[in-house]
Every structure is written in structure tokens, then in C-alpha cells.
Symmetry: C2
Subunit: 197 residues, 2 copies
DNA sequence: TGACGCATGTAACTCGTTACATGATTCT
DNA sequence: AGAATCATGTAACGAGTTACATGCGTCA
């Protein structure tokens, strides 16, 4: 059900077509809840069926059309209720840590390659998170900008600071993952010898 | 497929019955890859069908029997191959951070309750990780002890240090999560007023 | 006119969750 | 005798992944 609320969160900023949702999603909400297009379109349809969204068909070009979704009152209510309900705890399921615990089974070269790949992924991810955080701080983030339009200027700081808080948590995680992978590389060198194999 | 390798990892320490697997699993491998019983038993059957495990029926009491699973050569090979192959990257999917980004929608009391619940879960989890880490350091962890028996004493340090490395990564994550939740509670007090509601 | 972006999905499958189901054994 | 623990699952459903399918619009 979390996907549903992630989509509602995005659509509370402004009405959007499915395509816009899928594009904007990947640049904002996906940082905390990833989902591919093939999950987004069907879910939008189900949300409309359940009365959380309503859609209007907008002409596009000469023959084309597109569907624009807007959150209904019921949708806002459902989102608020979810926000006020206790979070589900997600149990750990992280292949990198699983593998790390059994690194004595890996070839030294494979162990290094994995830790490097992990570090590089998180380094890239961190750069993206920091860039996004900067667009929140200066309020140039497009979704944030449309969101703030519904609110009194007195509320802007409050809204922005929660988003920055969320990104700060993600950034902490990314930094911790990178530091851990680097310690792992030192450990592999120490235990397996630092020769290339 | 990661569940399959998590089970192989556990069973490389010693042969076990399904029940033992499900119990030992929750005290070791589940810290990096959680799975309920209802997923474990069927997967063990599939792994036997696929030749990664072989089972022998052991009498239990007067009429009862139980099935003991041991990793086959093919199982060891499959595990090594997985260990040497690149890790799959898991994209972010964390309801706590999703909610944090939209805390302006929550009642102040609910926001506090969520952050407290999150902090408390991770605090408890951290205590368990630290306790488990200590049993690795002093080598009293039961699964580790049976695992070390297959190896030459000269290898013990290497094996143990990889496991400690994995737990250190989990402990870092837990500490980061707790610190983040605490900063969140301060933020909620600042933005929503610190009166009880 | 061809490439790229806009637009919207379906189909098949695997993985994971939740709830339920059943019986034997051992300990107190 | 009853509780706890050992033992092993199934059934139904929901969530997530991967690959594929199709056509219009716009701009160079």
C-alpha cells in the first residue's frame, strides 16, 4: 500500500498525467520509494477506481489524448489517515550485508569488486541526493515549487524543512554505506593480501 | 533468489532440520535477510528438488520423524558462484523516510509518535546487533562455532572478522537511524510547538 | 523521414506476507 | 494433564520485476 501513498504524496503538489507522475516520481518520491512505470500506471487506475483520484481526459495534439489525475477529497483524507497511522517496520533485506558476512567464500578479486561496486553506487546516489537537497534549500525543486503554491508563505519554511530532514536521513545512510564499504576494502586487503589476482 | 543463498549460507555451518534452520536463521542470517517460516520450508524443499540440498529422514521420539538437510557439492558450488557474482542493487523503499518527507500533513502528536516508534525499534534492534556482535567477538555464537569446526584454526580470525564487519555496518545504520529520529523529534517540537496535544 | 520524447499500458512471473492448519514430544 | 516447544507446512493474496507492446507528436 505504500506505493499508493507515495503517489498521493506526489499528486498533492498538483494534478498530473500518468506520464508526468512517472517522470516526476523518479526525481522526487522515488528517492524514498522506488517504483517502475509498470507499477505506477495500473496503481493510478486502481486509485481512481477506489475514488482517491479523479481523471479528466485532455486532448493532446490532433488525435492524441492524455489523462490528468487529481486527488479527490477522499484521496486527501486517505493520505492524512495514512500519515497519522503507525509506520510499518520493514525488516532488513540487504544482499550487500548478507554477502559481507560470508566474504570468506568469495574470491578476493570478487570481494573487492563487490565492495567497490557498492561504494560507487552509493557515491553516485549520494551526489544525486545532495543535488536534490540543494534544490529544496533554494526552493527550485519543481514539485516543491508547485506544492508551496497551495500554502500561505508562513508555512513554506515548515514544509521545506521536513523534506530537507528526510533527505538528510538518506544522506546519512549513504555516507555510512560508503564509509563501511571503504573499511571493507581495507579489510579485504589485510586479510587476503593486497596483490591483484 | 537471495533467500536461497541466505539459507545456503546458514546450512554451510552444519546440517540442520527445517525447524533448526528456521530457529537459527532468526538469530543470525535474518539480521541481514529476514524471512518467515512459511517462506523457509517451501524454499528448502525447492532447494532439495534443485539438488542444492539433500535430506535424510531422522526418527524423532516414538513415531515422529524429521528431515535433516545438508548442502550438496552442487549447493556449495552455487553458493560460491553467487558470492563471486555482482550484487543486485536494492532501490530505496522505506516508509519512514517517505512519511518524514511529508510530515506537514501529519498531526503533531502522530508525527512525534512515529519518530519515537522508529527510534525505539532501532534502539532495540541496535541492542540485539551489539549483543550478537559480542558473541562473534568471543566466538560463543552457536552457528559460528559449528562453522569454525570445518576450518583450520589459522582461518578463524579471517572468517570471524568478515562477520564482525557485516555487523559493524548494520550497527552504523542503526545508530544513524536513531540519531536521525532524534533530530526529527527536535524538529517537530520546533515547528509544531512542544505542547502535548 | 527518422530519432527522440510523450503517452499508456499488459502479461507472465517471482517474491513476500498473513493467516491458518495439524500433530508429536517433552517438560513440569 | 496441560503448556511449551518441536516439527512441517498450505492457501490466498498482494507487491514487485522484467520484458514486451503500441502509437502519436515534435523537431532537426
Amino acid at each position: 500500500m505504500a506505493l499508493r501513498y507515495a503517489l498521493l504524496a506526489l499528486l498533492t503538489s498538483r494534478p498530473m498525467t500518468g506520464y508526468d507522475v512517472s517522470k516526476q516520481f523518479s526525481q522526487s518520491v522515488a528517492h524514498v520509494w522506488h517504483a517502475p512505470d509498470s507499477q505506477i500506471y495500473p496503481e493510478l487506475n486502481r486509485m481512481e477506481r477506489d475514488g482517491l483520484l479523479e481523471s479528466s481526459v485532455v486532448p493532446w495534439g490532433k488525435k492524441g489524448t492524455k489523462k490528468e489525475y487529481a486527488v479527490t477529497e477522499a484521496g486527501v483524507k486517505a493520505f492524512r489517515e495514512w500519515m497519522d497511522s503507525p509506520i510499518e517496520i520493514r525488516r532488513q533485506r540487504e544482499p550487500a550485508y548478507l554477502k559481507a558476512a560470508y566474504l570468506e567464500w568469495a574470491e578476493p578479486g570478487a570481494a573487492r569488486a563487490e565492495l567497490e561496486q557498492f561504494r560507487d553506487y552509493w557515491t553516485e546516489h549520494l551526489a544525486m541526493l545532495e543535488a536534490t537537497r540543494a534544490t529544496l534549500v533554494d526552493r527550485s525543486h519543481p514539485t516543491l515549487a508547485s506544492r508551496l503554491e497551495h500554502y500561505d508563505a508562513a508555512q513554506w519554511d515548515r514544509i521545506v524543512r521536513y523534506k530537507i530532514f528526510a533527505y538528510d536521513g538518506l544522506i546519512d545512510q549513504a555516507r555510512a554505506a560508503i564509509a563501511w564499504a571503504e573499511r571493507g576494502l581495507v579489510l579485504v586487503d589485510e586479510l587476503e593480501g593486497s596483490t591483484v589476482d
